[in-house]
């Protein structure tokens, strides 16, 4: 007879939020250190998680270590609450921590994200947990970990600009559009994970705490609230975010990050908010775009658009 059965007959008993308490303490210590040294990559003993690397094992461990029974969790994948990765991780925490979940940015106390920052301004008390594939911004130019650590220690960041130089030389402008390197609190150069550079300004002086977890690479780093975050650039090629020619086809929002959605095989396409919650909230408030279902119902191509969402 197994211990689990003896304890209550439920075979699927996990510790709260899946990780054991020792592991959570270890990760919390890493998080505290990361908050104390903004932008610095703190090594931690990343655990095997019941999902493959690349699916957010780092973010999940960070979330599991900070989540409590009172928390309200939101999970997004490229801005969407309803894609596989987001749905699975949300279900995971419902199962192992029995926490409330939401898709509403405003209602969440913890938002775990893959590659976006919500359009709605985050508030004090909220925590944004990023899933990070490769935490080292210098990695693609300097493969040796010993060397990159030394470069961080000695603030030797000339190499980072080499990458931007290459962009301009090749494309005439800085063509890096995601994982755009930033300088945190005037000290550490940091990879903001593969978020579009559109989101970089949102990291600067944010009221929310931002935590970054890289499971495979075993690194945690953080940006505490109200921290200066500057995107690297050249004097004659200043940092710029992406702009879009048209508003969201569904809610008409401007100045937000848009995804391109292919509608048919005849070249039909539309641009819609990448942040699904933002888009839905606006539509609920009565905002309408060029192809909003209400008006566009008679049109064609709508079914495919729905399917992609």
């Amino acid at each position: 007879m197994s211990a689990a059965t003896a304890l209550g007959g439920d075979l699927a008993t996990y510790n709260f939020a899946y990780l054991d308490e020792q592991t959570k303490r270890m990760i919390r210590r890493a998080i505290l250190k990361a908050i104390a040294i903004p932008g610095y990559q703190v090594p931690f003993a990343s655990r095997e998680m019941p999902m493959p690397y690349g699916w957010g094992t780092g973010g999940v461990q960070v979330t599991a270590s900070i989540i409590g029974p009172q928390d309200v969790l939101k999970v997004i994948d490229q801005g969407a609450d309803d894609t596989t990765n987001a749905v699975s991780i949300r279900a995971f925490f419902q199962k192992v921590a029995n926490v409330s979940v939401t898709t509403k940015t405003r209602e969440a106390s913890i938002i775990q994200t893959r590659h976006r920052i919500p359009e709605e301004k985050l508030q004090a008390g909220q925590v944004l947990v990023y899933q990070v594939p490769i935490p080292e911004p210098l990695r693609f130019l300097e493969p040796r970990e010993t060397e990159t650590r030394k470069m961080h220690a000695l603030e030797e960041y000339g190499l980072m600009h080499v990458k931007l130089y290459e962009d301009i030389a090749r494309h005439g402008h800085i063509a890096t559009t995601y994982a755009y390197p930033v300088l945190v609190s005037g000290r550490y150069v940091m990879d903001p994970s593969p978020t579009p550079k559109f989101d970089n300004p949102k990291m600067d002086m944010s009221e929310a705490l931002q935590l970054f977890g890289a499971g495979r690479e075993k690194r945690i780093y953080a940006i505490p609230p109200h921290t200066k975050v500057v995107s690297l650039d050249f004097e004659d090629h200043p940092f710029e975010i992406q702009t879009f020619d048209e508003p969201c086809a569904l809610c008409g929002a401007e100045g937000v990050y848009l995804d391109e959605v292919i509608l048919d095989d005849r070249g039909g396409r539309m641009f819609v908010c990448s942040d699904t919650d933002h888009c839905e909230s606006r539509r609920a408030d009565g905002h309408r775009g060029r192809l909003s279902p209400d008006e566009a119902y008679a049109g064609h191509g709508k079914t495919e658009g729905e399917a992609v969402r």
């Binding site: 000339g158 080499v162 990458k163 130089y165 301009i168 030389a169 004097e235 004659d236």
Partner: protein
């Protein structure tokens, strides 16, 4: 009448490096003055590369002292500096030209970025200026301006070596270390490179320490030379004196072994 500048740029005293029981180099002392080119010659295993690495902060010596006169005139013991200071020195006031250009270049970034990296490392943040400086230096090492955006992978051995030289010289170093700079190149390419190096060293008033096993390279480039064998200095002096009137048995052997063309 110009007076001799009596303060050396680099001063090596009693330097030894052991690899366990084996001797890399033992009890080496010499000085290098501003604008002077010193050749360190000897066969493979004579300790010349160990010596070069020890005096360029790439390998900690087992004993002895290496001091360098900084731009502010103060002489500092290299191995008492912080690592940050040493590394700053290496990418501003010093150059290091490797035998294999791939060791000294970033093979996957463009020629322009290879040259510009040191500028960016010391805080240059203006793309246009970086590019202008890179173009200028490429032309000084005889690389056509239209190759600026090509990666060194697409360059010949001689071009790579010239690019490596430009990359090192862009911050106006006062001392350049060279490890067999013409090794592995065709003879005709060697000649061109030597001529280029000689011109640059003269024009810029660089001090250089050149490690080579090729006595012809030493003759063309250096003012003075040190001959090493089994980790020790067996002879030193004016380059043409050492080569034309060698005193030590080993130097005589070395000089008599040169193939005449």
């Amino acid at each position: 009448m110009t007076m001799l500048d009596e303060t050396p740029l680099l001063s090596v005293t009693g330097l030894s490096r052991y690899y366990g029981e084996r001797v890399g180099c033992r009890d080496i002392s010499f000085e290098v003055y501003p604008g002077e080119v010193l050749a360190i010659v000897g066969e493979s295993g004579s300790g010349k590369t160990t010596l070069l690495n020890c005096i360029s902060t790439r390998l900690e010596p087992s004993a002895g002292c290496v001091s360098y006169r900084m731009r502010d005139g103060e002489s500092r013991d290299l191995y008492r500096m912080s690592e940050a200071e040493r590394r700053l020195l290496m990418r501003t006031d010093w150059g290091f030209v490797h035998q294999n250009p791939a060791d000294g270049l970033r093979m996957t970034v463009s020629a322009g970025a290879n040259v510009g990296e040191r500028l960016m490392a010391v805080g240059e943040r203006h793309y246009g200026r970086i590019r202008d400086t890179a173009t200028h230096w490429l032309s000084r090492v005889e690389i056509a301006a239209d190759r600026i955006d090509d990666q060194p992978r697409a360059f010949s051995g001689g071009m790579r070596q010239r690019l490596q030289i430009a990359r090192n010289l862009v911050t106006g170093p006062r001392l350049v270390f060279m490890d067999e700079p013409t090794g592995g190149l065709d003879v005709s390419v060697q000649a061109r490179l030597l001529d280029l190096l000689r011109g640059l060293v003269n024009d810029l008033g660089l001090a250089a320490i050149v490690v080579t096993h090729d006595l012809a390279v030493a003759r063309l480039l250096s003012h003075r030379m040190i001959v090493m064998k089994d980790g020790r200095v067996v002879e030193e002096g004016l380059t043409d004196r050492v080569l034309d009137d060698p005193q030590a048995p080993y130097t005589q052997l070395l000089v008599s072994s040169i193939l005449q063309v």
